[in-house]
């Protein structure tokens, strides 16, 4: 998903591609280059303040100006409070919640100086509703939604906008990781069938269908959209649904 967002952002200028997976970031940079854009890979761990700050500094040293910042890094672990390993809490909160906070910390200091900027976090439907066995992940994503709303209130008066996009199941490597970690079945069905059947549009989403919404929210066209929670879920969370 992050890659699809970078590809869209390449139309606006230099893109800083931050990931702790340096090979993945370099591939994204190459793809952008091949498409005629320019980008730089920034290896960093979003759960580590010094690492995030250093990545912003490297980006600026290379001529980048962080204007549209999108914390999208995330990890998924499932289980219940009874059986899930305790380490999952710190691990998931560290990347999904603290990662967004640390990114905001670096971004907003710069936004405030320039009195402009857009921050669009990627949470999840788990940021607004519960989901069986997703307690830890849900808590981390609810944290993102709460943080974004407060950023919107704190910095809206300066013209700095903060919004959050909540995708439902999207076809990305995260789905493959899920299958590798927890097996190919969920809800008594093959994973992707289970998820596709829970969506009124009848299919899981593509990464670019999230990226296009992030691109809109980051653009001047969304000038009055602040503190909003944009579900991009094919309708999956509107209410109880059976195919």
């Amino acid at each position: 998903m992050g890659r699809a967002i970078c590809m869209r952002f390449a139309a606006h200028g230099l893109v800083g591609v931050l990931d702790r997976n340096c090979d993945g970031a370099r591939e994204t940079v190459d793809l952008i280059g091949a498409a005629g854009g320019s980008a730089v890979a920034l290896e960093a761990d979003v759960a580590d303040a010094a690492s995030v700050d250093a990545a912003f500094e490297r980006f600026e040293a290379m001529g980048g100006i962080p204007q549209m910042v999108v914390p999208c890094a995330g990890i998924e672990r499932i289980g219940t409070v009874v059986d899930e390993p305790l380490e999952d809490w710190d691990l998931v909160m560290g990347v999904n919640a603290k990662g967004v906070y640390l990114t905001a910390r670096a971004a907003f200091r710069r936004f405030v100086e320039r009195r402009s900027g857009s921050f669009v976090a990627i949470a999840s439907d788990a940021g607004v509703l519960g989901s069986s066995q997703y307690g830890v992940y849900c808590a981390s994503k609810h944290a993102v939604v709460g943080l974004i709303r407060c950023l919107a209130l704190d910095f809206g008066p300066l013209g700095i906008r903060s919004n959050v996009v909540c995708p439902y199941t999207i076809d990305t490597p995260m789905l493959d990781d899920f299958t590798a970690r927890y097996g190919g079945e969920y809800g008594g069905q093959e994973n992707s069938d289970f998820w596709a059947d829970s969506v009124p549009l009848g299919r899981i989403g593509e990464a670019d269908e999230v990226a296009s919404v992030v691109d809109f929210l980051s653009s001047p066209a969304a000038s009055y959209v602040n503190g909003s929670v944009y579900l991009v879920d094919g309708g999956a969370n509107a209410g109880a649904y059976h195919r």
Binding site: I148, R149, C150, A152, L153, F155, G156, P157, G159, R161, P167, V199, P200, L201, G202, G205, E206, E209, V210, S212, V213, D215, F216, A221, A222, S223, Y224, V225, N226, G227, S228, V229, Y230, L231, V232, D233, G234, G235, A238, G239, Y241, R243
Partner: protein, 244 residues
């Protein structure tokens, strides 16, 4: 999608008109539906003079016949309908003490029941074109409406109705979404108090709401269905205390 053909209700002024302009600017043929003397005629003429294909349809959303005639006229003129935008009227019928049943009914008839009539008449065309439907409601669709209980009732109704349509028709390729817009420049009174609760420090410009409608009726929102998207300058995010 080959050619965008939009049917816009409430297109005579405000956000409806701004939406008609935005869609026409991106090449859509636009049918502007509004009440007699509400500006649709002039707006269509102006868009037409600017090179757009524009049709004015006069009628009242409270009349099933008016809606049907306008939909038929649009299809007769342009061949189909791919985009429907219902811009709900802002009304101020007042507090419960003053809300007699006639006023309550009239309010619902033009808002919630208006959406029902327009959705019902345009659905066959949207199914044929795999089109999109957007209702523009106010923030009273997700929150309360200070001293205007009828507005909150109608707007909440629109949200529930339109989201359910998205659920029911999404698998047939038709997307339905709702935009809940914060107070718009120029409508209503009691403005200072409301302004103080908006982080943006100003009301929405009609064109800013139109941009969100434009996004939700474009391919850029292809996975966005049965949702409510807010455009409110941050006012709905929570308690706002300006720091000076």
């Amino acid at each position: 999608m080959d050619r965008e053909i939009a049917f816009i209700v409430g297109a005579g002024s405000g956000t409806g008109l701004a939406t008609a302009r935005l869609l026409a600017d991106r090449g859509a043929a636009v049918a502007l539906f509004d009440r007699r003397d509400a500006g649709a005629e002039e707006a269509a003429a102006k868009l037409g003079a600017g090179g757009a294909e524009a049709l004015a349809c006069e009628g009242d959303v409270a009349s099933t016949d008016d809606v049907r005639l306008a939909v038929d006229a649009t299809v007769a003129e342009f061949g189909s309908i791919t985009t429907v935008v219902f811009d709900s009227p802002t009304t101020f019928p007042g507090e419960l003490e003053h809300l007699d049943e006639g006023v309550w009914q009239a309010n619902l008839d033009r808002s919630l029941s208006g959406v029902y009539r327009v959705a019902r008449q345009t659905l066959p065309h949207l199914l044929a074109s795999r089109g999109t439907f957007v209702a523009v409601a106010s923030m009273a669709g997700v929150r309360t409406s200070y001293r205007e209980p009828a507005a909150a009732a109608a707007m909440h109704g629109i949200v529930g109705f339109v989201r359910t349509l998205g659920q029911d028709h999404g698998s047939k390729g038709v997307r339905f979404n709702v935009v809940c817009a914060g107070p718009i420049e120029g409508d209503g009174d009691g403005r200072e108090r409301r302004l103080a609760a908006i982080p943006a420090g100003r009301f929405a410009r009609p064109a800013e709401v139109a941009e969100v409608v434009g996004h939700l009726t474009s391919a850029d929102s292809s996975y966005t269905n049965a949702t409510v998207q807010t455009v409110d300058g941050g006012a709905g995010a929570g308690f706002f205390a300006p720091d000076d």
